[in-house]
Subunit: 441 residues, 2 copies
């Protein structure tokens, strides 16, 4: 019979045990943090009516969608983010759920993107949102969630950069450029990439004067301590309602974040943060790892005025964020934070003799009952071959019991990353394994 070449589609990939274990650990940590703030989990289908997913989409989104006709003749598509399904979900269930509603949602999304930019066509998003409130308490909490999440992940120094869209909008009102808001946002979003000159040239092409561009760039270029920036804002953004709302929001958020115990350097007011997406209003944020600034934001989001207007007449304002799991795992790999051994049971038990299978099964289950993870080799092969297997897998300890040890009521415990080995009484094996693993960790 001819063999089918085993392969994945371009832009898709398998997760092998080491990275998958890291993914599970990050997801577990994020869940714990989200839950500690009262966010609850939901899930939505991978496949929806195209009409639902396409809703607010652009031509580009449409081209990226995996869209097809199902066997029942329905026009369906695979979800390309978790925000559109959330909007549909909340419109459908808000009567039952009530507001405010705080949910998290982790799952794969699919985009038929150009893979040359190092992007995948299947990737995982991990979103959290607070829906149904305009209170700035939710804005504060969102930034504290991100802070607590990255503190819990303990993978690198990080800084949450935040801003209010109202600052720029206030300035644009002052400059009578408020109709150009989206174009200016799009240009500013590229500031880090194309530089001030690039932004200037784009804005000039869009019809702004040099003086107007100077003021926009002056705002985007504001630096220094959070309080210093706040102090210089009124002179730049003016005194419109919008400008005052922006300054007020930023002041409230900074106070609240400080009250929540977040140290100054972790949440940074950064007036250059724009977030190109049109639906954001008010607070926007991005999160950078200090050790890897070039990978871009690993957790971003912001406030929106009305999430689900395509599906319901009930106005649903809110704020949320999205953790980019694939980018974060790539960062962990680059930082050497993926521990191959975390994917493997702590203890390896070689099976010396097929006559004693029951004894090895009993031993293994006793160690598991004591809270250890234990892999018993299934075949009575030569000890050397079994230990080679353990080396490859990366167990921390081997509990070796041959005929002599069974007779004597003892076991050898071998630390597999050294040549150390010790003999202990059979009854003490679990406790000694715990002690050795604890000392190693």
């Amino acid at each position: 019979m001819s063999i089918i070449q085993p392969r994945t589609l371009k832009g898709f990939r398998d997760q092998l045990p080491a990275t998958m274990t890291a993914r599970e650990q990050v997801i577990e940590t994020a869940r714990r943090v989200y839950r500690s703030f009262g966010f609850t989990p939901i899930d939505t289908p991978a496949l929806e009516y195209s009409e639902i997913l396409f809703g607010k989409g652009s031509d580009e989104t449409d081209k990226q969608m995996y869209r097809f006709e199902d066997n029942g003749g329905r026009d369906v598509a695979m979800r390309f983010d978790l925000t559109v399904p959330l909007a549909r979900f909340i419109a459908q269930h808000v009567g039952k759920l009530g507001t405010p509603f705080k949910r998290y949602h982790v799952g794969p999304v699919w985009r038929g993107e150009n893979t040359q930019r190092g992007r995948y066509r299947e990737f995982t998003q991990f979103d959290f949102d607070t829906i149904g409130t305009e209170s700035l308490v939710a804005d504060v909490e969102t930034l504290v969630v991100v802070h607590d999440l990255f503190a819990a992940l303990d993978i690198s120094e990080f800084v949450v950069h935040f801003n209010s869209r109202d600052l720029l909008n206030g300035l644009l009102e002052k400059l009578s450029l408020e109709t150009e808001s989206e174009a200016v946002l799009r240009s500013l979003d590229k500031l880090a990439k194309i530089g001030a000159d690039g932004v200037r040239s784009e804005l000039r092409d869009g019809g702004a004067s040099d003086g107007q561009v100077d003021e926009i760039l002056a705002l985007a270029g504001l630096g220094g301590a959070n309080d210093e920036i706040v102090a210089s804002l009124p002179a730049i953004v003016g005194d419109s309602d919008t400008a005052r709302r922006g300054i007020g929001a930023i002041t409230t958020v900074l106070e609240g974040v400080r009250a929540s115990g977040v140290i100054e350097k972790r949440v940074k007011l950064d007036v250059s943060i724009a977030r190109g997406l049109a639906y954001y209003t008010g607070t926007v944020f991005e999160t950078f790892l200090t050790a890897l600034p070039d990978i871009g934001s690993v957790c971003s989001g912001g406030r929106y005025d009305d999430l689900a207007s395509l599906y319901t007449k009930q106005r649903l304002p809110g704020i949320g964020g999205s953790l980019g799991l694939d980018r974060l795992i790539a960062a962990m790999e680059e930082l050497g934070k993926i521990d191959e051994r975390a994917a493997t049971a702590q203890v390896f038990v070689p099976l010396f003799s097929s006559d004693r299978v029951s004894d090895y099964l009993r031993l293994s289950e006793e160690l598991r009952s004591a809270g250890l993870s234990v892999e018993l080799y299934p075949e009575g092969r030569k000890l050397g071959a079994q230990m080679k297997y353990a080396d490859r897998r990366g167990h921390r300890l081997a509990v070796i019991v041959g005929d002599a040890e069974w007779e004597a009521g003892t076991a050898q415990i071998k630390k597999l990353d050294t040549t150390e080995s010790e003999e202990v009484a059979y009854a003490d094996v679990a406790a000694r394994c715990h002690a050795l693993l604890g000392a190693e960790a």
Copy 2:
């Protein structure tokens, strides 16, 4: 603007917080058990080349597949189980991973099935497999994993029913019906549904004599304690190599399971278990909840001779099982084991006064630091409205701090399922919440 009706596709559904929380808890428990045996996580794409997924498929599988042409003109499909992707995965990566390889994999699969049978078109499987060994130690371990999993889930009494295909195959050799193996398996699989008479009529239609059917039904009807069944087997299934292999395997598995500390009534030799799927050889098993026998098996699997023959010439025998997450959650709902309150933070903090937002933020974060999950209401509405929200959500405790309490350095802790309330010093709030939650649990 006209509203798009928010709805899911037929056969698809949203997961609301209560069931999603239960799903997460079951998945977390299963992961912990699988890991304790040295199984490691993997993931594979939702979308693969149709050629890969279709491999061994039948006409029925093909009709059920969500299959389409992607934007790049590729013939692709959504996975309909986790076994075919595992076969492709192991063929592709076995050189790097080596054997034995023990993996678990949880994820959605899609089948455009007839939804009238109460089935969904998107459902979640949670599989574990040991690949690359013929040792019966892996068979023992598989049953012990299932046992430990359901013991850890603590949702109902359960029994793992197991059998060896070699018993029936031995009998069919004795009856010179070995070429009819698949047809007989398919009929026996329906024994519970169509009864002995139904099976008899199917087998007679297939050409078996009444005497032959008598012997097949005698085997399938064997009951009693495990050891009694084993003792009666030789007289029924005969003395061929196949029959002796089957009896030997069952004896070894029963010994091993007993050595692993599993009590007799939890793993039951059940010679009527057939598992219709053609690829099983040797051990097969199903798991039933004593309180809900009618929902069928919630965890099933068996041994296979060669997993990945479509994709590699390397022979890869193994054994695995699949936890039916959707069926299990449905059972938990039926048993009243879904705790709506598990989806909600333990502690609710109403926000009395917008002037003190920073104080409430600090309080909430202090309680979180003490290990509590805490939801702070984001808006300074009337206390009654806020407490109504907490009732709806199902928090266990409310920590109420009004102006008087802030002045006095105290807080009211209210047990929300009673009318009890007590005043404690601010510094003691976290400890007292823990005590109340502990007493309640």
